[in-house]
Subunit: 269 residues, 3 copies
Amino acid sequence: MITLASDFGSPYPAAMKGVLLERTDARLVDVAHDFPRQDVRAAAFWLRETLPYFPPATHLVVVDPGVGTDRDALVVRAGQCTLVGPDNGVLRPVARELAGDGALEYFRIDDDHDDLVPVRLGNATAAKSTTFHGRDVFAPAAAIVHETDRESLAARAVLSPTDDVVDLVLPEATVADDRATGEVLVVDDFGNVVTNVPGTSLEGRDAVRANDERVPVERTFAAVDPGERLATVGSHGYVELDVNRGRGEEAFGLEPGDVVVLELESESG
Amino acid sequence: MITLASDFGSPYPAAMKGVLLERTDARLVDVAHDFPRQDVRAAAFWLRETLPYFPPATHLVVVDPGVGTDRDALVVRAGQCTLVGPDNGVLRPVARELAGDGALEYFRIDDDHDDLVPVRLGNATAAKSTTFHGRDVFAPAAAIVHETDRESLAARAVLSPTDDVVDLVLPEATVADDRATGEVLVVDDFGNVVTNVPGTSLEGRDAVRANDERVPVERTFAAVDPGERLATVGSHGYVELDVNRGRGEEAFGLEPGDVVVLELESESG
Amino acid sequence: MITLASDFGSPYPAAMKGVLLERTDARLVDVAHDFPRQDVRAAAFWLRETLPYFPPATHLVVVDPGVGTDRDALVVRAGQCTLVGPDNGVLRPVARELAGDGALEYFRIDDDHDDLVPVRLGNATAAKSTTFHGRDVFAPAAAIVHETDRESLAARAVLSPTDDVVDLVLPEATVADDRATGEVLVVDDFGNVVTNVPGTSLEGRDAVRANDERVPVERTFAAVDPGERLATVGSHGYVELDVNRGRGEEAFGLEPGDVVVLELESESG
């Protein structure tokens, strides 16, 4: 199984699928192709929250603002999974998650290697572009990786071990007494504001004051009337600031990267 | 085969796919993940018009404004198909269609059952959320249902027979003499206004007066000039109010739920 | 393998998938369903740039502004691939590409043939519509074609050889000395303005003056600061007018079909 994730929109992912299917019979599964454009951190978050639910797979990820520059192209072996994508940190948070207690292993893709040259049906020659490495580097590399026994990756001429890789750590919130200070990680498609404040900080709390607005702590959206605000523990385990049947990011005026200060209130307090 | 339909947008459906694929090798087919948000009636319409074209399958449907409340999680056996989703009526119109002359059978999903707990690769524990039952209840249930002989569903500990279920009936139009009174069921992606007036009411008619605008009855969009309005029998068998290469809902000022009165005109009349 | 491409948005492509899967176990791969609405030329461009990367396949294409009129429904045998879609030119540029030095063969689909009548589960009869031939003509035809040996297509009663087909040729640019005159073929999802000026015309050039704005010629987006304009050879081999991390079509004020005049500048010149 090979999953695909990118910020390519449409129809560029189809060219990647063609390249993959020309080289492998693997099942292909789209994760998303509408990640926020060139936003490495948002993609890293969504991958970390999504890919661990898949069975062992090869994960192809292309969110690549540095395409064509000298940034490396990477293969990461993480637990039972293998990740393929640009070396800009996007693969790191999910790789750590997938590896569990195990070590991560990195391989640099030789992106000029002949093994990667795409094939085109008909007369036209497939020339490697400087702007679409998803098609011309990462997809063929993912097919090669998927068709290679995981223990034999180092033997593939197109790969060489490396440990000089870009890291990315998603920011952590500070929780002390009745106050949590964190930031907005992403706003999801529903408009829910996903913070990095651990959901456990809402235990025993009745309400939070978020940037000076007091909202109730609820377990479900439907606990408040349509259009009303709430704080809840979202499906990622973090505190979310939401509106039932509405858009939290508009009601709270928050966007990714914004600082969030939550005053944690309980009835007894 | 398992189909997936939801109002989740992106990337939440991918987590459902991961959960499914961790448990089954079934082919997965997306129906849509952009159903109008939390609009049970629109989803019920689209499912009824789409799923009967598939071969027998397990259909996973998550349009779930009551997620986390005490609404039931359902499995419906309908003809040769099995449907999985929240008990809010969304499954009923398509289930009746798929069952033909046969009876519908319902099973309540025990959504706290250990069999449903998702698996995550790596170290993190997968905790059941109160806001994403698509991932934590319905997807694992659909995988279980799909891997269970349909006659044996009642024997699965996670399911118990029930007949206390929410119904939903799409509204029907009234057609009498030269007048049809109905409502807008959905507006499709092209902007076509799909009413619930049966297409047969246009037989022998040359034009309709729709909310006092007279438009010709045509068999194809291209029968009128680009930008011009028409009434036609759409692919669902209902009267649609459309604009050739334009958006009917803007030209007619109609949206889902609006009442539509059609005066049916013929040259001879 | 059957690929699907259309301008249908959602959820209409799902009905086509149901019809296909009722008749074939082929792998289905979406190319795109958000091609610019009823824009035959844009679809022809994207297909030509995408489908050759796939292994041999049946390609189902429905961009069909003339649905329901007397335009033909076509099957095209091109090299190792078979294309199915309306006879409006959309299949021609990619067919020529896929055929390489080989000839193209055309078959007209008898769209009233009983073999095409879709099957519906349950009691309802599937009636052929006049507005959704993707579901009622092209998808069943694609399934039939896919399940038929390519040499035996002419023996299928639903197909008859023809050579009276609509052509479409994407426009070519004129390059002379220091000036290229072409037009905008498409604007991609990133906002990149894809012209029909061959990328080779940028060889040895440092800058271009595009409609009187001077922009540097670069190999990568990241060679200029975010928000800055550039000209580059895009992944299709044509000159693109882009903005790093921004939208070229807004910065240059260009849209598909617009004429583009590029003055080609070099330092030595």
